[in-house]
């Protein structure tokens, strides 16, 4: 992708670690690639349970965009999240879904990448809790918005001590599985 | 059916399962509770009282 501002929306169930994924994506870009990112999310009671989302804007330059206007990249790990947040996604947005959970994705004009992140988490890592890491890896591979090295550093720095290994493994698994898709 | 669970309201908290004195409720694959042995149910209504989501009805006899 070229030198502009990329608007990324990550979404899924509450509890899937979507927010953490957004923060890690932002940190990877801004702390480990010395580029720029801003990250925001929904707050408060309305954000509890049900669908959850986190948003990141990524650029090579300083960013003055503090609200997502229309996502260039849209990741959805649940049907509910897909339905709720696809609304304003850009016509040409890259869409990434978990095909096991998003079964109905009417997206004629958009590029849709189906990455079975939950299956990968379960089968390759043995823990569904790392689903967000798998998704991050996949997103990195598909969009090229962040390098895998920076992502790995960001993950190591953020996750609870002792869980670095398994999380890194998950990121890589997602990355590998999606690499050929790009 | 002695109890009817409204799956649109149920949030799968599993409280009903533990609170049935006869252990008659189980969760399906999706985590949704169901009455596994309707005949054993004595309609004590425990499950309905403790459901935080008003998701369990015990139909009136005359309604059945």
């Amino acid at each position: 992708m070229n030198n502009k501002e990329y608007q990324v929306r990550l979404s899924g169930f509450g509890g899937q670690g979507i927010i953490l994924a957004g923060i890690i994506l932002g940190e990877a870009v801004s702390l480990y690639e010395n580029r720029f990112a801003v990250q925001f999310q929904s707050y408060g009671p309305e954000a509890r349970g049900g669908a959850s989302r986190a948003e990141v804007v990524i650029s090579d330059e300083e960013i003055d965009l503090l609200e997502l206007i229309e996502p260039d990249v849209f990741l959805a790990l649940s049907q509910q999240a897909f339905d709720k947040y696809i609304g304003d996604a850009h016509e040409k947005a890259l869409v990434i879904v978990d095909p096991d959970y998003v079964t109905n994705a009417p997206l004629s004009s958009r590029k849709v990448f189906a990455v079975p992140v939950s299956r990968i988490a379960r089968e390759q890592i043995g823990k569904t809790i790392v689903i967000n890491m798998v998704a991050l890896g996949a997103l990195a591979a598909i969009t090229g918005l962040v390098g895998i090295d920076a992502l790995k550093k960001a993950v190591s720095a953020r996750v609870p001590p002792g869980t670095e290994k398994i999380n890194l493994k998950a990121v890589l698994a997602g990355y590998e599985s999606a690499r050929e898709m790009n | 059916m002695p109890i009817v669970i409204n799956e649109h309201w149920c949030k799968k908290c599993l409280i009903c399962i533990e609170m049935c004195p006869r252990n008659l409720i189980e969760a399906d694959e999706q985590g949704l509770p169901y009455l596994k042995d309707p005949d054993e149910c004595n309609e004590c209504e425990n499950c309905a009282w403790v459901c935080p989501d008003f998701a369990i009805d015990i139909p009136e006899k005359e309604e059945v």
Binding site: P45, E46, R48, G49 | H8, W9, K11, K12, C13, L14, I15, E18, M19, E45, A48, W49, V50, C51, P52, D53, F54, A55, D57, I58, P59, E60
Partner: protein
């Protein structure tokens, strides 16, 4: 009362509600609705007043007059309503932060005046709505987002407080035993005067998670195990419970009710005037 007839007090089109899975507030509301049903309260003559917090979410799903007010202030609005219209039945659902922190003063003064209001405090030991800060009912040393090293403050025995302030009906029930709680609420509504019922609820999302409870039920059970049934004739608020939680009707007195007293004054003055 039919088994599901309590549902007429629900705005069912507002369901499912937005409480988290396993949140105790729904259980306590269910107990209250069944008490209303037993008493066959007329929804048009019933007003439920809440303030802000997850506790206040009771309101939008109840099918009667429902007034959600500012944080901590529901008792002031409710007092105005009851004083202006003593014929209405007025119920309150308050949170532990809402009712005992910011709203503590209104609680003790409404209790003192003995206005005929029934206040149900949904005690989940935490500020749920704002994401898990400690409240005046968070037990000593429990953690919350603003007591990451354990709560250094003592918690209120809020029933004792309400009683000391003058409440003429004081009771405590728990989510694990909603039938009992429902009877206590029913008694509170029937009682003419200020009734205070603490309903011990659970917040699995914040209180539970922070304090290593693995499920909503675990919190319910933890409370249940510590609870002991008491009777007003023998219970004394100062007695040492050795960590146990007294539940049941704790005190019950006949005291002049405020709107009644006021009505008598008006009658007396108007008689005097016209005489």
């Amino acid at each position: 009362m039919k088994r599901n007839s309590y549902k007429k007090y629900l705005r069912t089109h507002k369901l499912p509600h937005i409480w988290c899975p396993g949140c105790g507030h729904g259980i306590i509301l269910g107990a209250a609705l069944r008490a209303m049903d037993e008493l066959e309260l007329d929804p048009y003559k019933t007003v439920a007043v809440t303030a802000i917090g997850c506790s206040a979410r009771t309101n939008a799903i109840m099918n009667c007059n429902t007034i959600q007010t500012t944080h901590g202030r529901s008792l002031t609005f409710a007092s105005g309503i009851k004083m202006a219209r003593p014929d209405l039945t007025v119920l309150l659902f308050v949170g532990d932060g809402d009712g005992a922190a910011i709203g503590g003063n209104h609680l003790i003064h409404a209790a003192r005046r003995n206005v005929d209001l029934t206040t149900i405090l949904l005690n989940n030991s935490i500020y749920g709505m704002t994401g898990g800060q400690y409240s005046p009912l968070t037990p000593y040393q429990k953690t919350a987002s603003t007591s990451p090293y354990g709560n250094l403050e003592q918690d209120f025995d809020v029933c004792k407080l309400a009683d000391a302030a003058g409440a003429s009906y004081v009771a405590r029930g728990i989510a694990h035993d909603p039938r009992h709680l429902s009877r206590l609420i029913r008694g509170g509504i029937e009682h003419k005067g200020f009734s205070f019922i603490e309903g011990i609820s659970q917040c699995p999302t914040y209180y539970g998670r922070r304090n290593k409870f693995s499920s909503p039920l675990e919190i319910m059970r933890w409370v249940k195990e510590r609870s002991v049934r008491v009777k007003p004739e023998t219970y004394n608020f100062s007695q040492d419970m050795d960590g146990a939680i007294p539940v049941g009707l704790l005190s019950h007195r006949n005291l002049p009710e405020f709107t009644d007293e006021y009505r008598k004054l008006v009658e007396q003055l108007q008689k005097g005037d016209n005489a």
